[in-house]
Each structure stands twice: as C-alpha cells, then as structure tokens.
C-alpha cells in the first residue's frame, strides 16, 4: 500500500512488496555477454596500465579485460582472484570512480572510462556461482595460523595462507563470515546474498576452520593464540561507533547507522523494519550515504543528510553524493548537531548550528542555528578501533588509535600481523583490507617457512 497521511512517525511496511523489490534491485545490473564484449573492446590494453597501478590490490585489469574480450571469462576471473580473492565484492563496492576508472586514459580523453568495475563483476560472477576454484593448496606445511575476524582482511589472509599449505583457524564474533561485506555494505550493492556466497567460495579452498561467535577478550585471548598457533593475523575491523557527545543521546530513535544497516542486511522482509517518516542522518562518509539512501528506499518521506564540513571535505565520493540526491536525499553541508530534542522519551527534532570553514581548513560554529524534525536520527560519524581486548595484556603499538604495522603488516609483536580497518594508515576500503590480508599472508608464509619453532595447536 502506498504511504498515506495517516502514517505514524515510525512504522514498518510503508511500501508494497513490489515497491521494495523495485527499490532494492541491482543498482548496476550484471552486464550481458554482448555488453561486456562491447565494453571490453573499449580497453586500450595500456602499457603499464594506470588502472592496475591505481588498484590497491594491483589487479592486472588490462589483462582481465582482454580475456573478457576474447571470450575467456574463466581466465579473466582467475586473473582477478590471483590478486584479489574478493574480486566479486570489490567489483560492487569499490569506489572505482576514484580508483581504477579515474585514471583510465579514456576518462581523460573522453570523460568516459572503461567500466572496469562492471566488467570485473561480469568476470567474477559466474566463478562464484559455479564455485570454480582456481587455486590449489600446497602440501600440508604442518604450520598453523589463527586469523581473528572473518571480514575482507581475514578471509583474504586465510585464503592465501591455505594456498601455501597452512592450517588456518578463523575466529569471528558474528554468526556469519564476511564482516562489513555481510553486515555493513548497502543492500543494493550486495544483492543475491553475494557476501555470503563469496565467503563460502573463499573458504572453499579448504583447510580453513571457522569458529563463529567467538569474541576476542571474552572467549579467548591474544596471548593464547600466540602460544597455540605459529602466527596470528588480526583483522578486527572497527567495532566501536563514534557518538555525538550530546545530551539526550539515549532518546529512542537515536540510532547507530551501522546497527540499522546490519539489521537491514540480515532482514529477509524489509516490511518488518521500523521506518521513520522523517529521517536525519549525521555524517559524511559511505555509511552516511548508504544509510540515507536505504532509509529513503524503505519509504521515509523526508530524508536529510547533514554534514558538518563543506562538500569538498566529504569522504563519500561525488558519485555517491549524486546517487543520494537522485534518490531524493537532501544533503546539508556545514551544519553541526547541537541539541537533540525529545518528546516522551523519543527524539522529535534536532538542532544544528551552521559552521564555516576557514581558509586554513579550521571549522568553527556560526551564530546561525536551525531545527530539523526527525522521527529517527542516524549517527554515521565514524567507527573506532577498540584496542582494549588485545592491549590489556599484550604490548601492541598503536598509531592514530589503531594498530601500527610495517609494510608487511607486521605489528610490534613477534608472530602477530594485522590488516584492514583496524590498522593505521589504511584507506578504509574493502579492497585495501584484502590487500593487507594478502600481503600479511605472504609474509607469514615466509616467517613460518624460516622459523624453526615447533608448532603446536
């Protein structure tokens, strides 16, 4: 049924089943064979291809596109997976317009880069669906590695370690693998249960044991892992959610965007999700955009995204901003939340103060304020790394509140590596996490093959 004026401030089932289906369909449908061939034909097969160098996992893009053009989709998938085992998900979530496609020579010359992301999805889709395993495991090394976190970094690391013949044990706090791919990415970027299917595909190489719902610091300690396994990889992600630091933040309707998105991702019936008539999202990153777009698609009438800095400072790409605006999200720049106003214990509006950015980038409040009515306020101002479970008994160096690692993703502790969002100097991208996991695994393999330490379990 279409929304009517009689709807209450928060209610579920604002749309018909058909509308939900339409709203949450594939943002960019899978290319057909003909479309893929035509698009692949646009690639110049550049020397020292800029796209490849712009890819955090250095996928040989020119080669995989040529393989598509010549009808060797299988070979194309292998080219991608050999550098990035999460190539299927990255094809959907990578900000390609800021990475490979931005440096495509056809972007400069005709403002129309080769659609690398969509071609990568085309190449990888069938391999995942048909569970085509391209990589063999080397003979059993007798060495064991513990991987904490089954997100992109952890899965990529585990896969590469398994290829090298090591026995891998993954521990994850959640009931499913995939990390943010499973719980965090916008639904319309990860349809058809792709995150779960991809995780299953990656684990399909074998010799990887996964223990779900095991939380570091509660169910086991880093110290125990260090002594029981030859090496440890930490792909912990960022479990903490930044808070606004305002009074009344515990009003009902004031919600962490990541929690709502996780519920949305795990929902098999969008009509059961509480959906506000008026939604305000605070933040300027991908989570804020994903939240704003999805709440709009769930049927919220007024959706406003408020970011405290100016448009240029926004972490979400211009492409993502445009997507949000196209879907009907109103974006307000240079406004910072000041006061949450509630009625009967539930949020009803939120007051903002206008900010200004000085030439030196310094942000300051002005005297101007305004109030937005809101039935729900979604906080999307970033996550933080909670180091307590691992630093309480272990001497791990931090940098910028995250784990400090070297070029090989080694931490300051012997036999402990780390990667993904939990390490400093990262790009907070799925593809960077995959890269961290792969680099760490290669170094761990080196370490294990040269260490004479007797490995126990």
């Amino acid at each position: 049924m279409a929304p009517t004026n009689q709807t209450t401030a928060i209610q579920s089932g604002r749309l018909t089943a058909r509308q939900y289906d339409k709203n949450f369909c594939d943002l960019h449908p899978l290319l057909t064979e003909k479309q893929a061939a035509a698009e692949a034909g646009r690639c110049y097969f550049c020397f020292d291809a800029p796209c490849m160098n712009a890819c955090p996992t250095t996928i040989d893009i020119a080669l995989f596109i040529r393989q598509i053009a010549t009808g060797d989709t299988k070979g194309s998938a292998k080219t991608i997976f050999s550098q990035n085992i999460m190539g299927a998900m990255c094809a959907r979530v990578c900000p390609t317009e800021q990475l490979c496609e931005q440096v495509c020579v056809r972007h400069d010359s005709e403002q129309k880069p080769v659609s690398i992301g969509r071609l990568q999805r085309y190449a990888t889709e069938n391999a995942i669906i048909e569970n085509r395993q391209f990589f063999d495991r080397k003979p059993d090394s007798g060495k064991t590695v513990a991987v904490v976190g089954a997100g992109p970094a952890g899965l990529a690391c585990a896969h590469r370690l398994a290829m090298h013949g090591h026995q891998v044990t993954i521990l994850d706090a959640k009931p499913k693998p995939g990390g943010l791919n499973e719980y965090g990415i916008a639904t319309y970027k990860a349809l058809d249960d792709i995150a779960a299917r991809e995780a299953e595909y990656i684990l399909g190489i074998g010799n990887i044991e996964v223990h779900y719902q095991k939380t570091l610091g509660q169910d086991y300690t880093l110290e125990s892992l260090r002594s029981n396994y030859g090496a440890v990889f930490l792909g912990l992600g960022m479990a903490g959610v930044n808070q606004l630091g305002l009074d009344n933040e515990n009003l009902s309707g004031v919600i962490n965007a990541v929690d709502y998105i996780a519920d949305l991702r795990q929902s098999d019936d969008y009509a059961t999700l509480s959906t506000p008539e008026r939604a305000v999202i605070i933040g300027g990153g991908m989570t804020a955009i994903d939240m704003a777009v999805q709440i709009k698609l769930l049927g919220s009438r007024d959706v406003t995204l408020v970011y405290r800095r100016d448009q240029n400072a926004m972490k979400a790409s211009p492409y993502e901003q445009e997507l949000a605006q196209t879907k009907g999200v109103n974006i307000i720049f240079n406004a910072s939340p000041k006061r949450l106003i509630g009625e009967n214990g539930a949020v009803s509006s939120i007051e903002f103060v206008r900010t200004k950015t000085a030439d030196n980038g310094q942000l300051s409040d002005t005297d101007e304020t305004f109030i937005l009515d809101a039935d729900m306020v979604f906080k999307a101002i970033g996550q933080n790394f909670n180091a307590t479970p691992i630093t309480s008994d272990q001497k791990l160096n931090l940098k910028n509140h995250r784990l400090h690692v070297d070029d090989n993703r080694r931490t300051s502790l012997e036999n402990v590596w780390a990667g993904g969002d939990c390490v400093s100097d990262g790009e907070d991208l799925t593809v960077s996490a995959v890269n961290d996991g792969r680099i760490a695994a290669i170094d761990i393999d080196q370490y294990l093959s040269t260490s004479n330490k007797k490995e126990g379990v």
């Binding site: 061939a37 034909g41 110049y44 020397f47 020292d48 053009a69």
Partner: protein, 431 residues
C-alpha cells in the same frame, strides 16, 4: 554540384556505383528495389546453362567481426544463379526496359568450350542488356567443375574465352578476375590480348572464416563438413586496391578500363579505387550488410568530396593516384621522417612505447623525469609508422619530414636530393 554520371565502355549510369554480380542482383525484385534506391547499375547474378545449379540448404555465409561486431569480413559458398536461364533472361529484359538509364550488365559462366559460350551470347544480347561480365573468379563450387576461378587461373583460357565472346557479340565484354593467383597482371594481360573491353576485380579470395572448436570443423558448416568459400568485405579492400593499381600501372595493359571491386563500403573507398584507376566500382558486401539505402551515403559522400576538391566529373580524378604507385626501388631513400607525439592529444596509454620497445626500435620513452610521458627519441626513430598505426587517437602521432640539419639517428646531414636504391652503394646491382 559534381556530375556523378559515369560512362564505362559506353555504358552509361547516373552514378558509378553498380551492384556486383551476387545475391543482391539475383532476381528482378531485388534489382527493382536497388534501382528504386538509386543504384547506378547492376551486374546481374551469374547465369549458366540449364539445368540450373543447386545450392546447399545449410549456411552459405560466414563472417568475421571487429570487437563491436561490425562485420569486417564476409565469406560465401553460394553458386551461380540457381534459377532457369529463361526466367533470368525474361526478368533482365523487363528490368532493362523499365530502367533504360541504368546499367544492366549480365554475368556469365558456362563450360569452357566455344559452343557453350556462342550459344548463350545471343540470348543475353536479346534482353537489351548493356554488356557482359565473364565470371572467371568464383573460387568455390563452380571451380571444381572447371569453371569460374579454374578458368581465371589460366591466363591462356582467359584470353581464349574473351576472344570467343568478342567474336560472337556486340556487347562490351568485361572479364572478372580472380585474386587467387600469384600475379594479377597475367590474366589481365591475357584478357586484354583476347580483346576484352575491360577487367573487373577482385572476385572473392579462397577462405575459411573460422573453425568450430567444439566440433572441430570449419564454421559455418553443412552437416559437420565445411568447404572453402570466397572472402570479401572491408577486410579485402587493401588486396583489391593493390591488384587494381598493379593493372592500372602495367605498361602492357595501359588504358584498359577497370571496374573496381573489393570491400567498397563507403564513398571514400570508392574514391580510392577510382583514384587508382577504376572507372567505376561494384559493391556487394556493404549492401548485404546494411541494405540498398547505403547508396544515398555513397553518392552524397562522393559528390560532396568532389565539390570540396573542385572536381566536376569523375574523369577528373580517375587514375590520378596511379603515377604515384611505384616500385620499392624507386622510393626516395633521402626522405627522412621522425615520429612526433602531440602531447595535448596523447592519452598516455603507452601503446606506442611498448610496441616500439618490444617489437621495433626502442625509440619512444615511457617516462620523462619520473613522470609517465611518451616522447620520441629521434636518435632511435627510423620513421617506420608503427606508433602512428597503433595509436588509438587519430592524428596524435604524426610522421614529420626533416628537411634541414642532421638526422639524429644516422648523424648524417639531411640531403634533399632524391636518391633511390638503384644507385645506392649497398646495392650490388647499382648502376
């Protein structure tokens, strides 16, 4: 506006575009549609003696494509007309009567004996047709029966049949040549010696377009077996242009009219054939790919180009490029060129660098001062044109002539005097 009307052997047509002898000219209904669309003439699909031939019921055509599935090469195993002779003659008569201003030439192929040829000629002449074209080119099927290319590959036979025809008809005789030989000038000379009024070329080239790797058979195939066909379409144009030029500049056939055929798809292709000496052109594959409407582009394009060039009639540019076709030995060895990359147009794809580096002369940088930058190294560049050929951006790389100073590669001063291989010191036969 330029006058496109053509006079080829006295056969007049409102434009120089004829449809070549092939399926588009097989029947009255097709030719009627062609003339309505504006084609200047047709060479009627090859007639033979009754009983008429039969075609396979499997696929007759195959194609190869560019990346965007633009057809660039086309192959066929169709035989000559598979309809009774009388039906064809009747339709030719009707068409010529209805369209007196259009050229109607009839293609013929009968067994290689004088009686067969002398018997069919009067019947064709009675239709009012403007001329005949002897099909000595068809490379498949008919050649197995001693006709088509089987005749065209023996210059003596070419001359002999031309002579029979000239002796037995008043119609102009055009001999259509097969490219499936080593030197196209031999059959052209034979045709000329036999009294033929003109040659037309090229017919199709022996070909297998692809192989079905699942069934290990040529593709397309009939019941799992394939045979070579005749290749045509845009891909064969360079081969045809060369053969036309070879005949046009051959002193033994100087002045022999040529009807140009082979991959002509655009007005520009037609202009190129005519510049190399073709008095008119014949088109088939382009029509079979897009339909007859392309004649509008062909005539408009040719006319506009002629206007831009100041040509008012076809004869003003026909053959104009022939004097500039020469033997390698006469090319000016003192003419020095260097590639130059226009940095404003360069997309930095690097293809020029890698092909030069891997396969040629290591004459293009990949980096300058640590930046991705493609620049010609004059000390290494031999001016081969490989970079120009592979650059995806038109006019981004050019070959610039060097007329003064020192050639950075050879360290020799530029000599603006013409000098060729015949007098070069490295030539053992130098005079």
């Amino acid at each position: 506006m330029a006058d496109l009307s053509a006079d080829f052997l006295g056969i007049r047509s409102p434009n120089p575009f004829w449809l070549a002898s092939a399926p588009p000219t097989d029947r009255e209904v097709n030719v009627e549609r062609a003339f309505q669309a504006g084609w200047g003439g047709v060479v009627w699909k090859t007639l033979g003696l009754d009983p008429h031939v039969v075609n396979v019921n499997g696929p007759r055509y195959g194609a190869i494509y560019a990346a965007d599935r633009h057809l660039i090469g086309f192959n066929n195993i169709e035989l000559i007309s598979d309809r009774p002779l009388d039906v064809n003659l009747h339709e030719i008569t009707a068409i010529k009567k209805k369209w007196p201003d259009r050229a109607v030439v009839v293609s013929l192929m009968v067994p290689c004996d004088e009686a067969s040829w002398t018997s069919i000629l009067p019947k064709v002449e009675a239709t009012g047709a403007d001329g005949i074209e002897l099909n000595f080119g068809c490379p498949h099927g008919m050649s197995e029966r001693g006709m088509g290319a089987a005749v065209g590959q023996v210059p003596e036979y070419v001359g002999m049949v031309a002579r029979w025809c000239k002796a037995n008809t008043n119609m102009p005789v055009i001999v259509k040549l097969t490219p499936n030989i080593t030197d196209i000038r031999s059959p052209a000379r034979a045709a000329n010696d036999g009294g033929a009024d003109a040659v037309s070329l090229i017919n199709t080239i022996n070909s297998i377009v692809s192989v079905d790797l699942d069934n290990m058979a040529p593709y397309p195939n009939t019941d799992g077996k394939g045979t070579h066909g005749g290749y045509c379409g845009p891909a064969v144009k360079p081969i045809a242009l060369n053969m036309v030029a070879e005949i046009a500049r051959d002193p033994e056939t100087l002045g022999l009219p040529i009807s140009g055929i082979g991959g002509i798809s655009t007005w520009r292709d037609a202009a190129e054939f005519m510049a190399l000496g073709a008095g008119n052109v014949q088109v088939c594959t382009a029509a079979m790919t897009y339909g007859f409407k392309i004649i509008e582009e062909l005539t408009a394009g040719l006319s506009n180009w002629m206007d831009d060039q100041g040509y008012t009639s076809l004869d003003q540019f026909v053959g104009k490029a022939v004097p500039n076709v020469t033997d390698w030995q006469y090319l000016n060895l003192n003419y020095i060129t260097k590639a130059k990359i226009n940095q404003d147009l360069c997309t930095k794809c690097g293809r020029c660098h890698i092909v030069c580096e891997d396969t040629s002369h290591q004459a293009i940088t990949s980096q300058v001062d640590g930046e991705r930058h493609y620049q010609v190294i004059d000390e290494e560049c031999v001016g081969c044109n490989l970079c120009v050929s592979v650059c995806p951006v038109e006019n981004c790389i050019t070959l610039d002539q060097q007329t003064t100073g020192i050639d950075a590669r050879t360290k020799k001063p530029i000599d603006n005097n013409y000098a060729n291989w015949t007098t070069h010191k490295n030539n053992p036969a130098a005079v």
